[in-house]
Symmetry: C2
Subunit: 652 residues, 2 copies
Amino acid sequence: MAATNTTKTGQPFDRDVLDSLLRRTGFYMPSFEIYGGEKGLYDYGPPLTALQSNFVDLWRKHFVLREKMLEVDTTIITPEPVFITSGHVAKFADFMSKDPKTGEIFRTDHLIKQVLGARLKADQDARGQTIEVEKPDEPQKKKKIKDVKIEKLDDAVAQEYNETLAKLDNYDGEGFNELIKKFDIKGPTSGVDLDPPKPFNLMFQTYIGPSADKPNGYLRPETAQGQFLNFQKLLEFNKQKMPFASASIGKSFRNEISPRQGLLRVREFLMAEIEHYVDPESGKKHEKFEDVKDVKLTLLNRHTQLAGSEKTEVMTVGDAVSNKVIDNETLGYFIVRIQDFLLKLGIDPSKLRFRQHMANEMAHYAADCWDAELFGSFGWIECVGCADRSAYDLTVHMKKTGAPLVVRENLPEPRKFKEYQVDMNKKKLGPKFRKDAKAVENAVEDLSQDLREKLSLELKDSGKITIDTPNIGNGKTELDKDLITIEQREVTQHIREYTPNVIEPSFGIGRILYHLLEHVFWTRSSESQDEPSARNVLSIPPLIAPIKVLIVPLSNHLDFKPFLRHLTSLLDEMDVANSIDDSSASIGKRYSRNDELGTPFGITVDFQTVKDKTITLRERDSTKQVRASQEDICAAIESLVRGGCRNLQVKR
Amino acid sequence: MAATNTTKTGQPFDRDVLDSLLRRTGFYMPSFEIYGGEKGLYDYGPPLTALQSNFVDLWRKHFVLREKMLEVDTTIITPEPVFITSGHVAKFADFMSKDPKTGEIFRTDHLIKQVLGARLKADQDARGQTIEVEKPDEPQKKKKIKDVKIEKLDDAVAQEYNETLAKLDNYDGEGFNELIKKFDIKGPTSGVDLDPPKPFNLMFQTYIGPSADKPNGYLRPETAQGQFLNFQKLLEFNKQKMPFASASIGKSFRNEISPRQGLLRVREFLMAEIEHYVDPESGKKHEKFEDVKDVKLTLLNRHTQLAGSEKTEVMTVGDAVSNKVIDNETLGYFIVRIQDFLLKLGIDPSKLRFRQHMANEMAHYAADCWDAELFGSFGWIECVGCADRSAYDLTVHMKKTGAPLVVRENLPEPRKFKEYQVDMNKKKLGPKFRKDAKAVENAVEDLSQDLREKLSLELKDSGKITIDTPNIGNGKTELDKDLITIEQREVTQHIREYTPNVIEPSFGIGRILYHLLEHVFWTRSSESQDEPSARNVLSIPPLIAPIKVLIVPLSNHLDFKPFLRHLTSLLDEMDVANSIDDSSASIGKRYSRNDELGTPFGITVDFQTVKDKTITLRERDSTKQVRASQEDICAAIESLVRGGCRNLQVKR
């Protein structure tokens, strides 16, 4: 399915028009604007804040309540050791290149992409024209690039550029540095050689407590770790039953090198994450898979992408799992639930696809990953990740802390088997290795059964063995038979112990909301005289619309006031968000203003109301109007606003 | 009204019993516990997370929707200049004292309080016994204090100690240092002299962007500043209408020197704040005051406290405002709305009072402040502040940035008056004062009318004037008549421009939830045989209870399964949070477990259900049971769960 950049009514989509609408009507604004702004930080004004809280409410009902998930609220501030263990301190980084002359800092991969892209474009144009590239530090301003290479390229060079761009995700700092030298990439505004690329960790640092003299903590880049650290308690809360899921909604942070693309790449953002814990030996079956197996999905798998294509396939999730396109039922079930949720929100189904990650683009912890991508004016953008994190996180935290982040399951029948067991003489171990004793012990415990078998023979033969101990002395440690025994023994197991695998649906709420706004935006050409001729509309579904009802008196006539008060209190009692616009603008103008805010219903109070207490209800998308009693109309609105939640059938 | 530390059924309240219940049932846990924990950070488990999200939902309905407030979501990360302007960089600090021998850091005021308190206690006991004080860094552990002064005190000394303690909030670093020397206070574990007290800013620092080589931002300590910075846009969104309120719910942070008291003094916490903007010349009237004027409040005013008493008075808010106990209607209206909200939540009305701040304890920005204090096992604790921040914040940000954070109002009649106006010759000003020119200009503009009158005469007489310019040279600047003219002129004003005052109700959500749990906790002695004899109950109101319904099958009999599935999906459709407990424990045990979780309703599926499809509904507080059809009982539950929100009448 090829998504096209048009509104739902087939008009070409114009991002500038939507963006100016969103800023003018207070959906969002750059944070600290009166102080000159701060890149990558945005404040949500009243309409977007309400939309976001309705999103969160719906998400909780759709996932937490329906799936009986265990929602937790863990802290943003996280001490450093947690992220050392999780791998984020070492690996959660982008490379940056500094221009020594101007002091500008560029995200290295973006810079290479821009420069090679610009050269390829110049080549295509086959003219030595000046190309404009975005200066990452100031996304609003375009800067002319100084690049000696703006000319027609050899075919071989052009091909090399294209190949390099295709696999840019595979490079590290050294690799980037070689590319920069090889392709003679200079500072884009200065023309001088750049400093070699350096990794920049994307976590915000902070100082916890009054005695910290260097940063000792981070703002979390995801809510996941807080959930993993509580695994044991959550399993207990769930009365030791597997599988189960935890969930969390909260702010996370990434200190982006050069934030851009408005609400899509920001430094502070709201996430909703689910960690579904599953027995790896269960085949990752899901008990409700049968209920969803006929739901169709639009998929772009890894193999298609490897073949250089973006062609999606539509298939049922049942077929996708049985054909191993999607690895297992649990992953498939969540992909369906994610799709259901996005469509309930009002996402355009033709602008939704699920794309499997290539091996080289997965996060360091992931074993498989499908993204829900939404199409908009920035192209296809990842908005929900659905990753199989395998047992990675629980394993590393358990290893580091010794906390039993495992499931213990009574076996229906005891299991008997033979295994090589190691006993160490701890009385002698301590005095001999002192501070390294624990590390030696760990290294021994980590020995595989195969190695243990080999070492047991060696120990019998020579009375001593040598094992690898990477962090101690020369990396080898000798142990003699006074210190260690290795024997094969028969074991009877009554309890099975295993580390669960984790399937993680992870929602970037701001990205989804931004795409929703693109998808529901269109322009109406009105034929009615008292409404302006071309009007922007946000067709946000009533279920999540920021304000549900606008109450509009025909004029400022005093006779209307009691009706306004009555109607607003009637709706307030129903917890239906409403507002009154008694300004002097024409009714058409007042409705038009609220079409831009996505308000689905309008109520008019006029002289007929004063006579017979009836009011007019106007529906935003059709502009159709009906007249009825105040009570009937308010009840109808309540049911439309709530009904969306209970009865909406997802259609594809 | 003297609050007593008993449960609602009159039993003595035992904090240890509640605390162990809350930890055992997963309400909360110390964050990063498997890494040894991190002081002042707690994770909320499933029951408390659900309770918190129900709190937020109710808060939004009660305040944002009903009062048509403009909710915004602004960023946590804040660049330094904002908090320099707001005064937080200079003033949002506590003093800390370091023990040079042990490296321990103490919050200075707490240390003085503890030591003097310990001496006074020793004096009372009239024996030189060893006193135990809390060591702030390790609140769990009590340490013996080394203090040479443990003996009977002279009457004059004891009186001086008491007086010092009463006014401890008035001291700064120098003052604390003098107290420490005067009273010979030493390091409590080492007995050596402490380093002089140093201010420790309570904001967490961070580094924004890749080029920051020193901290250039903070995590906000309140949501308020984000709201103030958007004032202009919010006023525009409100179509220039005054008064109006903005609101925000989000995490804030305080890097406490020594966190303690569990959930009450933490480093990361959820706040809900309202900034109500009001015309200072309106007398701060409120249009809905008439509706609430007969509501009774329990008040502890400033005068009573100055007289050394804690005696509260019960009076209507109407009387309180007309007697000027509460300064104005707007403050009074919000105090009533805060009380309504707290009672809806389930706060015990006998454990709620409103206490006016003393002049010396108000934050640097506040003009008046009433706290809603809740009584619990830690005494009376501030849980909601209701401060009049006057025009402080908007004024300082406007002055710093030049952004017009003001209201402009068309006057019904033009206003004519005379005023002294200043004109400066900017062409000469710049070259003469260079970088200081702007500062000189600002100093001139800030001159009062009285001063302008005086200076205009001086300028006429001597041809030059001298004005105060504190930050330039010697603090005085001379200006001659080439540079400045001052004249009285007649002005006609068509527009009135003013900076609104701000009334700020600010909710510490964790503190309120903790007190709620204390207030709804009690122990039932059951006479029924199949229920354990003494059982803990959390009588959380259905409206905000984490889980509303527990579904319990009599046994694991297969015939019950379809009913469990039907009931859970019936309740799911109604968005009523429910869970199934089909474990093998007795029904009494299963209910008892859920009484501890505050689940208000239980449904039993038994053999009668299989016969006639009826089920039993059990109510948590009374343990009364009724039998009816599945549909009737689910509908009744839905209405009880929602009805609380719409129909609950607040009684005092």
